[in-house]
Symmetry: C2
Subunit: 470 residues, 2 copies
């Protein structure tokens, strides 16, 4: 059955469920829900609702399921793959009122939070208890923790502390049927049937709507050291990444930045930094722990590795302020690139020792297709964000050549043992590239899983799985 | 369509696929494949095959899928939930010839292995390269790494290093259709569609047969300290567990053992240990790292926490030999319990601060139903193995009362936020208890996932999901 528009009578029922003040239908007010941070895409929902309880979402889902109305869940709207865009119209469920930290359980080192809590607010709340929740994407100041779950979001500290998968223990989820389930248990280990918790992570709102989250917390390291290393080529900087791990060190962050990105961020964010001639690529390396002596020992090992890999200069941050300045440089890079040029961001990920080949190849592909790029990312994970910049490219070339160039970048990524996205997801904009990595057999498994959760295909249609239709 | 028996002509085709010498049909030779380590269950397969390549398994699966013949994959046969038992007869695929470590990639700190590699052999092979694969179940000397994946197996070091989920990057899987896929990419992060890799972990051979495994490796800590702490009650020992984490320490192992288990293991394995009067419960606490000073600092903190929680005596192992002896005590506990009595093992897991309530409740339930129990396990994870021992219980009581007692133990576990199994799986023997934790809605999602992979239900039937039929 094709998707149905939202009738006046159904819109009225939405109001009965969530209250009239939490239903948006005015075109101007819908605008803010029509885009995320993915380039300049715009898709208007017919109606936005702002529920406050799982039971309200359950009622909404039952109604939409019955009437085959597309439903798109939305977190903080900071997504970079268009996954929160209501491409088929219909209802958009904004999770903004699910903004409570329910408990921080210091006995068990667990917390239960609602999905609309801003990630940084949660990080700060557990920090006050002396604890660490180490999943901190660059957008942490505005993204929602539920969106992080739905996208398998990462951030710089994944390299030491593990991915978001390692921190989520249990999820309350409203299914397209309206049924409310808990996916697992509040336990650190789980071998009790298919792991629906893990299946939800990275499912981009296509299987169910997350309404409560139980996460693991860990004790907070008391000390850290931060270094910025300069290299004269991208390849040298990237080669040093895997060398650091091979020397027996697991940094708590290992970030790569290209010179162009650093230039732009200095200009955009007025960061004080002495950018030397010949410094073409940078690694931001952090180690943390409880014993400062250990950290200095590790810093010495890292220093030696950096030197052996052609590093021309190492800056050891000597104050909290300088650490914050260096981190700000890295975190503000995305927005400073965005402010400088029309761009298209891809989120490549490869085994980390393949980074030199990846970045070399990206630049070669750029030469063929006539585009430049600014690369940065979580190099310790092999995760490189590639910002293809329009620069002086003509609109016509940008329209016609970009897709082929991106395709070649993904082909390279896959050939190096990598995949299309490490943490931004597939959503709308990477969907067409999925066949570069996966077969129809793979897609059919995905379609079968989707069907088990959402037989009418109402939830976040048009995302992730090529050609999944209702 | 009901399951079909294996005809002579199909058995002949098996021989064509894997070679006659790799097909077992003789009843006596089938016996070794008719049981695992789960109590005294025995289910004979009709035929056992020992393929050597994914392509052979693909051919076998196509044939069995076409003729609706049940297929049970089998690893090392060390399972504790009966998941490898061919309860519907049919074909058993033994993975014993998939025993090659294909590559240990020191550049990327990854390894590619076949699923029939014995876990300890793999651990030792990476150790020779100065690396660590920290997933080491007690059965590591005979279990297969593929079985570990299929069951979400754990072991003592999960508490610091993360579960097996954090180490598996990519899996080659043969589906019931005979199609061969890779579930993901060889990358540390992954946000590229439903995570089929994670879905396979803990799926107990019901979705596909794992034929290659890519795992993450980490650098090896150079030092460790091991302590054995004695307590006069189980509850005190269990309460100290969460207190250690709250003091900011993450031990590399934190194991609980009851006195009875220690007595039996001393007797069974001739371990030299001065078991003092009044020492009723023990914690084995390990810390590891690169800096011995840090470890001694951590040991002091732990010591204080233990004392504050009523610990009567702490033994700090002063030699490698003593460490090995203490670890052997813990590892041999399962088999020594088994040698002492008819028993039934359950694998409860709760949030770790609920352990005192769990163990207290288990003993109370035992008093009601007239059974004793010996408990031990990975207390740092909240994972308690409960060995219900028959002892002097009459056969009649053992048969009639045991199930109700186990049911009460699981009800208690679930009420404490836990679940049925942390690392042993559901398999055959825990299946009937699944409704204590999960609803029909949950089971229907599991059935839908199963259907997407295995529409005819040929793969490992009769396991995990209640009432899943073909």
């Amino acid at each position: 059955m094709p998707y149905q528009p939202i009738s006046a009578s159904i819109a009225e029922q939405f109001k009965n469920i969530v209250g009239g003040e939490n239903v948006v239908t005015d075109h101007d007010q819908l605008e803010k829900y029509a885009h995320d941070e993915t380039e300049d895409l715009k898709y208007y929902p017919e109606v936005v609702v702002k529920p406050e309880t799982p039971e309200q979402i359950s009622e909404l889902m039952k109604l939409c399921n019955e009437h085959v109305i597309p439903v798109t869940p939305r977190g903080g709207g900071t997504g970079l793959s268009g996954a929160a865009l209501p491409v088929k119209g219909g209802l958009l469920i904004s999770m903004e009122r699910f903004n409570k930290i329910i408990t921080i359980d210091e006995r068990n080192l667990q917390a239960t939070v609602e999905p609309g809590v801003i990630t940084e607010e949660f990080i700060n709340a557990v920090k006050e208890k002396g604890l660490l929740y180490p999943v901190d994407p660059s957008s942490k100041g505005s993204c929602f923790i539920g969106g992080n779950m739905a996208h398998g979001s990462g951030g710089p500290r994944v390299v030491k502390y593990g991915t978001i998968r390692e921190y989520v223990l249990n999820l309350q989820v409203v299914l397209p049927s309206g049924d409310i389930i808990w996916t697992g248990a509040n336990t650190l280990k789980y071998a009790s049937g298919y792991n629906l918790t893990q299946l939800m992570i990275g499912s981009e709102g296509t299987l169910g709507i997350i309404t409560k989250i139980v996460v693991k917390l860990i004790s907070r390291p008391s000390h850290d050291l931060l270094m910025l290393a300069s290299f004269s080529t991208n390849e040298e900087a990237c080669a040093a990444v895997s060398a650091i791990f091979r020397a027996g060190i697991t940094p708590s962050a290992l970030e790569f930045m290209e010179r162009r990105g650093v230039e732009w961020v200095i200009e955009y964010d007025h960061i004080r930094f002495d950018l030397k001639d010949g410094a073409e690529a940078f690694l931001l390396v952090e180690v943390d722990g409880t014993n400062p002596d250990t950290l200095f020992m590790e810093a010495e090992v890292i220093n030696q590795v950096l030197e052996d890999n052609g590093c021309s200069d190492v800056l050891l941050a000597d104050s909290s302020a300088q650490k914050e300045e260096l981190w700000r440089m890295r975190r503000t890079m995305a927005v400073s690139v965005k402010s400088n040029s029309v761009y298209k961001e891809e989120d490549t990920v490869v085994p980390r020792a393949e980074l030199p080949a990846l970045i070399h190849g990206i630049k070669e592909i750029g030469k063929i297709y006539g585009f430049e790029s600014v690369c940065y990312g979580h190099a310790g994970d092999g995760n490189l964000h590639v910002n293809i910049i329009k620069g002086s490219m003509s609109d016509e070339d940008w329209q016609s050549k970009l897709k082929d160039g991106i395709r070649e970048i993904f082909e390279l990524t896959v050939s190096l043992g990598g995949t299309l996205s490490g943490e931004h997801g597939i959503g709308l904009v990477q969907r067409e590239y999925m066949p570069l990595k996966y077969s129809e057999v793979h897609f059919n498994l995905m379609r079968g899983i989707k069907h088990a959760f959402d037989p009418k295909g109402i939830l976040n249609p048009g995302k992730m799985i090529p050609d999944f239709i209702n």
